[in-house]
Assembly symmetry: C2
Homo-oligomer: 387 residues x 2
């Protein structure tokens, strides 16, 4: 393996800014005159296993620049988790396409893959540099202040929840329940609680990390609704009861034997209607929470670009076996820089939402916003509320 070409792959669910990391990697490789070809795997691991690569070497600069405003993955992704039996095929593809620098852009599973490829290459004495580029709206990677993709998802959650809160309090005929992504991680759902600060509508927020006592939840909802100012309830799709059972138990199993995800907001709405006799409606923007470009955080966009760029710098300067990690200072003003963390320490670890940032089970503490607000891009809306 002489290793003069570059290969980039996406893994897992896209974010609003994963293409910015691709843009950063491609533009940096071009600027550094990396020399070889720039490949991308078509649909992530599937493309690597099938030897199905896209040659980006001669894609026009203005097309690459448009990646900044393109959500989802421009090269395709997949949810296939590689098994031990797959790795020889991965190395074959890398060899066949003369890949010297391999970049995998994803979350926990992808960093595990990255780590294994890096170890295998080292064992076999290959001249292959492997760098992970972090990406997940869930914000649950360790050894990084936060993950590219989170700031935009948090901005989406915060501002769209504020817009729903304004509607809910301007025409207070129903409790509005909003469902947010993050099956196990409450980072994005917590951001929706900003609506209580940006509007005059009460907001109750429920995270997947805290078991929900449905009777207390309904009592809280009834009590706040009675004040007559409208009410927005924001819930994670992954809410569970104290026995660990998902709140939204639709009882429907898909063709693959998995219970249908989501439906938590509708479940809460049904309970409000049936048990409290209060009108309610459930909203679930779902994948829009990770795909909406008009709500992108400029800080997140820049950092996602820089993460892709830093990965290429690191590999071309001889580094391998690391993930790009974001280090951030919040005082006196927010500033971040790209560093490297060992893939071995990142793979399969999970950063939990600090439960001390939740008050009374349904309100998010200032400490969370001290952490998250700079990541959302700074310029938050200022609404005119005259009533």
């Amino acid at each position: 393996m002489s290793g003069k070409n570059i290969l980039i792959a996406h893994g897992g669910g896209p974010t609003a800014v994963i293409n910015c990391s691709l843009q950063g990697a491609v533009e940096t490789a071009r600027a550094l005159g990396a020399g070889g070809r720039i490949y991308a795997a078509r649909f992530g691991a599937e493309g690597i296993l099938a030897g199905d690569l896209i040659d980006l070497t001669n894609v026009p600069a203005d097309t690459i620049a448009r990646l900044a405003d393109t959500p989802a993955s421009a090269i395709g992704s997949c949810r296939r988790k590689l098994t031990d039996a797959d790795y020889p095929t991965v190395l074959q593809t890398l060899e066949r396409f003369d890949v010297g620098c391999f970049f995998y852009n994803g979350g926990n599973d992808s960093m595990d893959t990255c780590h294994k490829v890096s170890q295998l290459a080292k064992q076999e004495g290959l001249d292959l540099r492997v760098i992970g580029i972090p990406k997940t709206m869930d914000n649950d990677l360790v050894l990084t202040d936060h993950c590219p993709g989170f700031g935009s998802a948090a901005r989406y959650a915060a501002i769209s929840a504020s817009e729903l809160a304004l509607d809910a309090s301007a025409l207070p005929i129903h409790v509005v329940v909003m469902e947010l992504m993050g099956r196990n991680a409450g980072w994005v759902t917590a951001a929706s609680a900003l609506a209580a600060r940006l509007t005059n509508c009460p907001v109750l927020t429920y995270l997947p990390e805290l078991p929900v006592d449905e009777d207390k939840m309904l009592a809280d909802i009834e009590s706040v609704w009675a004040k007559g100012k409208g009410l927005l309830v924001t819930v994670s799709e992954g809410l569970r009861d104290s026995a660990g059972k998902p709140l939204a138990d639709t009882g429907i199993v898909d063709g693959f034997g998995h219970t249908i995800p989501g439906g938590t907001a509708q479940h809460v709405t049904d309970a409000i209607i049936q048990k409290l006799g209060i009108k309610s409606r459930a909203e679930k923007p779902g994948l829009l929470g990770r795909a909406s470009i008009p709500y992108v955080s400029q800080v997140d966009r820049t950092e996602a670009y820089d993460a892709g760029s830093a990965a290429v710098y690191a590999a071309l300067s001889g580094r391998s076996g690391s993930m790009v990690s974001i280090q951030a200072d919040r005082e006196p003003v927010y500033a971040s820089r790209m560093e490297l963390a060992p893939l071995a320490d990142v793979a399969n670890a999970e950063k939990k939402f600090p439960l001390e940032w939740v008050e009374d089970g349904c309100r998010i503490a200032d400490a969370f916003f001290d952490y998250a607000l700079p990541l959302m891009g700074g310029d938050l809306p200022q609404y005119a509320i005259l009533r």
Copy 2:
């Protein structure tokens, strides 16, 4: 009634730009030196009946300017439909607050209210000028090319559907089904079909005006999904079968005896999973479709402002009994102007979506986009799709 003051009220569901009409009315009244006080009804008809008005006369100009970026209703709205018994109370409030110009900003029901107030005032010889300001994301008012609020809802539907389509085709592991507002009117849902033009993902679109044959719908979904490019299905919340029965029959009745609205996307998703054995997920941005500021159409924003402004001009120049109506030319370039239409002809009439703009029950014809694209604000995204 000496009639020197102004009263503005909102009726029905808000839009992303109804506050722009309020801004236009207030700023125009100030610019014309209308003299008297500028009142707004707190929570629409409820505020008028209770004599609960907000005095906007001295609200700072920068607060009024911020209305342009504030969704929902800054003064509050309600869904109370006035009965004959209510009108004497309405006239009492108008007299008590010395109102000479009354502006009601809403859809069909509000224009009916406007018409009745106008007629009653004339019968009783009052010096009261009544002008309706059109507003509805549903776009179903007659005698106007389109309604303020529709362009932004259409832009939201088109771009957010495109973002979902990009996600659905970048990670094609499930059919994504998106539900859009408009119980009886398909105008907004039709706009979501633009996703088929802005992305490379197939899109099937179902409007409430066309009875759905669920077997054909599932056969269409199965056939398009089999092509392997992902699939977005966009459905109106109000889809009905050939017997006129709502597709989403949850069987749950709320405390007021009404069947729960919505749930159509989840119904279609369940059918895809259970009958086709294909993974699927349902998304329902719901009220965000009428409340999202980052997706606002600049054309819609400007026209909503102009509609409020034109209403004040018309009343101060002696006109009454009319609704502001938008006349538009699309050749050689889009241009619109504000005119007046008789309230008598607008009240309780409904503009239907032309069924000849739907092809094969699930595709939207070019003619719709010739009509709707200029209203969405012009600058549509250009995505980079490399796979």
